[in-house]
């Protein structure tokens, strides 16, 4: 009998506990009507703005990019220490997606639905971010400054909440091909590209300059397979002299290293996404890298010149707020993203809403810190439509002074217009 009562009591207790748990989750699934001002600005309180990102902290792309979010975080710490933006501190939630689109979908839903972030900033990767593009726009979450050069982000009609950060890959492909033609007109130009939109769009850009079929050999690699011997071998056999690279940092190093092992030393022209010299040194080693990468050509659109004022400020922030982590292109990149977001947030006013933030960027008034003006506007969600050419000489990577912009389908040589540093690098601070 006692057993019976005990069982019964236990059942009742379990039922009660389950009911309590369910009630705790009760945050009603009913869609919002959008009239409540608090709902127009989730993640915003009187003194904080919470935003989130998905980054490859583990997995195949981690070694090349995991330092970006740390740099952005350091920049936000610097801003917060100096009073924040419009009196609000920026809280930055970084989630690891391992460069795996399936994981990206889960962590981004977590950020939007559980952590209720105001916006997603600088989600990294073409394949990864593509998988949440629809989701973020359906939920009207500002999807700012995506860390990829895919042209998918620049579709204001279809994806009004998404804005790019990188110069797009068509622009980069065209600029690299143009530089190849200008420097060595008779060379055999080939391309090694990632097996997704990244590769496709660099090919598209290069073919704008070289004409259809102008690339003597196009090889593709897949991120999940860490061996490019077959691809490099095919390029060597095809007699390629200038190899354009649409590769992430890890695979740039892999391509250069594999070619060296095969005794093959072509010229390498890399997209900015995979052309950061200090990061490549990390892969290839201090002793080999300067030799293998002498003359290595890449593109950039951010103020990373070793003697620039932005670099000086970012170095200082890096030392103070990032434990003096190695200073490289990713550091400049991460902090520039932070700067642009801070500028957008400042422009969104004292009571930022999601729509207000998007409007502030679409207004075309943002300046950023690039070497060319930003292209944001009501009908353009692309950040940079031009890039400067950089090369590595004696272990130092810097601009050579040639800058290209894509105007329609034509590549034009333009003058760089670097943005001067103002207000200690904190937007809105006079």
């Amino acid at each position: 009998m006692s057993q019976h009562t005990a069982t019964h009591r236990r059942t009742v207790a379990a039922t009660a506990a389950a009911a309590a748990a369910l009630l705790a989750f009760t945050a009603c699934s009913t869609p919002s009507t959008g009239t409540d001002p608090a709902e127009a600005a989730p993640g915003v309180t009187d003194d904080t703005v919470t935003i989130g990102t998905h980054q490859p902290l583990t997995g195949p792309a981690a070694a090349g990019y995991s330092s970006i979010s740390a740099a952005t975080q350091a920049y936000f710490d610097y801003v917060n220490e100096n009073g924040g933006i419009n009196g609000r501190a920026i809280e930055y939630l970084v989630k690891d997606d391992g460069y795996n689109p399936a994981t990206t979908q889960t962590v981004v839903r977590e950020l939007v639905q559980e952590d209720e972030v105001f916006a997603i900033l600088n989600g990294l990767g073409t394949p990864t971010h593509t998988s949440v593009l629809d989701y973020l726009n359906q939920n009207e979450v500002p999807d700012l400054f995506v860390a990829s050069g895919s042209t998918s982000w620049n579709q204001p009609d279809k994806y009004p909440f998404t804005f790019a950060f990188n110069a797009d890959y068509v622009v980069e492909g065209a600029a690299l091909a143009q530089y190849a033609v200008d420097e060595s007109p008779d060379a055999v130009v080939c391309l090694l590209g990632q097996d997704d939109d990244f590769g496709d769009e660099v090919v598209e850009g290069a073919e704008l300059v070289l004409g259809e079929g102008g690339l003597a050999e196009v090889q593709r690699y897949s991120v999940s397979n860490q061996d490019v011997t077959a691809q490099i071998g095919a390029m060597q056999a095809a007699g390629c002299e200038v190899n354009l690279l649409a590769t992430v940092n890890g695979f740039t190093a892999l391509a250069v290293g594999t070619a060296a092992k095969l005794g093959y030393f072509p010229k390498w022209f890399s997209s900015s996404s995979g052309g950061d010299y200090p990061t490549l040194v990390g892969f290839l080693g201090e002793d080999l890298a300067p030799k293998l990468l002498q003359g290595f050509t890449s593109t950039n659109y951010l103020p990373f010149s070793p003697d620039g004022e932005w670099t000086a400020l970012f170095r200082q922030i890096n030392d103070e707020y990032n434990d003096g982590a190695p200073f490289d292109g990713n550091t400049v990149y991460g902090m520039s993203v932070g700067y642009l977001f801070a500028e957008a947030l400042a422009a969104a006013g004292d009571d930022p809403t999601r729509q207000g933030l998007v409007d502030a960027i679409s207004s075309g008034d943002l300046v950023g810190n690039g070497i060319l003006p930003l292209s944001f506007g009501s009908d353009s969600h692309a950040a940079y439509l031009g890039v400067g050419i950089t090369t590595v000489d004696q272990g130092v990577q810097d601009f050579v002074g040639t800058t290209y912009a894509l105007e329609g389908d034509e590549v034009a040589t333009v003058e760089a217009e670097p943005v001067p540093l103002e207000g200690e690098g904190i937007p809105g601070a006079e």
Binding site: M1, Q3, H4, T7, L22, L23, F25, T26, A27, C28, S29, T30, P31, L57, T58, G59, S66, A70, D96, G98, N100, P101, A102, T103, Q105, R109, E110, Q113, E114, T126, P127, T130, S131, D134, Y135, Q138, D195, D196, D197, R220, S222, V223, S224, N225
Partner: protein, 382 residues
């Protein structure tokens, strides 16, 4: 599952009523959950399809598949490619969903049939090896045929919104959970019918002793192939649901680790038990999330946190597997069943002399003995 509900019903009708009741309960439950929980519920439903099929395959027919993720992927790609083709020809809404789902299930079923044909000639580790090779080859297949499968990036599909009539009542995650629950209910009920029917009995016979089964006229080869196909069909449905919920399918979602996780899930849940498969699906979805939340709660150094976030899950799954097999060899479902039986026995001992109300059903002894309704117990066989 609930022995005291509707004592008049037995056999398949009772199974159907139970299934319908559970489905209604699950759909009602979505009203209590916030969107993220509903998203997780939809994932649980999708994984439940796969684990239910897998538990049937391993627990009943005794064939070990380590490659169920590949069968889910076949369903996912089947769904995505068909949905995209239909979108291009201007078809959308319910017809697009249904046609794509059917193609997904057929694609996975065909792959399962092929594997099953090989499986009937292989056994034990050799079969496991074949299925293992399939899941390892998946990223290579998608990148070699990247024109169709779009490499690592995978295939994205158009979005199915909430139907107009329901738009004011439910959010999109809840709608997706409903669809997932309905499809899963149909698939799993089908598996439960197979499990308690003739085919289920034959699977057990083949598993128990293949030679005696053959001597008794059971076509062992055909039974094994049928088991593999049924299990592949349900995995394909799971992959299709996953694709419907996330609007994409990519090889990164169906890795070897995930495939092994499915096996861990059904072993932890209890081999051969549908309820155990449900528990396993919940564990697969919630455990990594719980671990992530727990890691986030401690203020760990960033580097340590990064190291832990990817790897701790695998460690915990491994530990869970060892603990469960050591303590409850029948899995969580087996442990629950045993406890209930023990309590029933004690209850009866308390109520001596034998309870009068039960006299109306003289055929019901202390332990349900009808072979079809007797849950498969794997413990004594191991």
């Amino acid at each position: 599952m609930s022995p005291r509900i509707l004592p008049g019903l037995t056999g398949t009708p009772r199974l159907l009523v139970t299934a319908a009741a559970l489905t209604v309960l699950a759909i009602g439950g979505t009203f209590l959950l916030d969107p993220y929980r509903n998203y997780q519920l939809a994932l649980v439903a999708a994984y439940f399809c796969a684990t239910a099929g897998l538990t049937l395959l391993i627990g009943l027919s005794g064939q070990l598949s380590l490659g169920h993720a590949a069968l889910m992927a076949a369903g996912g790609y089947g769904y995505a490619l068909t949905a995209n083709a239909l979108t291009e020809s201007g078809i959308d809404g319910v017809p697009r969903f249904l046609v794509s789902l059917v193609v997904a299930v057929v694609a996975a079923g065909l792959l399962g049939l092929l594997l099953g044909l090989a499986g009937a000639r292989l056994s034990g580790p050799y079969l496991a090896g074949v299925t293992l090779a399939l899941v390892i080859a998946l990223p290579a297949i998608t990148s070699v045929f990247s024109g169709v499968f779009r490499g690592d990036q995978g295939v994205q599909i158009a979005y199915d919104g909430v139907p107009e009539a329901l738009r004011l009542i439910i959010a999109v995650e809840q709608w997706q959970a409903w669809v997932a629950i309905l499809v899963t209910a149909i698939v799993v009920t089908g598996l439960a019918v197979i499990r308690r029917g003739r085919l289920g009995l034959r699977m057990r016979a083949v598993h128990g002793d293949e030679t005696s089964a053959r001597l008794n006229g059971v076509p062992a080869g055909r039974v094994k192939v049928a088991a593999f196909t049924a299990s592949a069909v349900s995995a394909g449905a799971g992959g299709a649901i996953l694709c419907f919920v996330t609007q994409s399918v990519s090889p990164g979602a169906y890795t070897l680790a995930f495939s092994l996780l499915l096996v861990v899930a059904v072993v932890v849940g209890g081999l051969g038990s549908i309820g155990g498969a449900a528990v396993g699906a919940v564990v697969v979805v919630l455990l990594p999330w719980l671990i992530g939340t727990a890691i986030g709660a401690f203020d760990l150094p960033t580097e340590l946190e990064q190291r832990l976030s990817g790897n701790l899950g695998v460690l915990v799954f491994g530990a869970l597997l060892i603990v469960v097999t050591a303590v409850w060899p029948g899995g969580l479902a087996g442990a629950l069943r045993r406890r209930r039986r023990r309590e029933n026995r004690m209850l009866r001992a308390d109520q001596m002399p034998p309870a009068e109300p039960r006299d109306s059903r003289p055929a019901e002894p202390a332990i349900p003995a009808s072979p079809a309704s007797h849950p498969i117990s794997t413990e004594p066989e191991r």
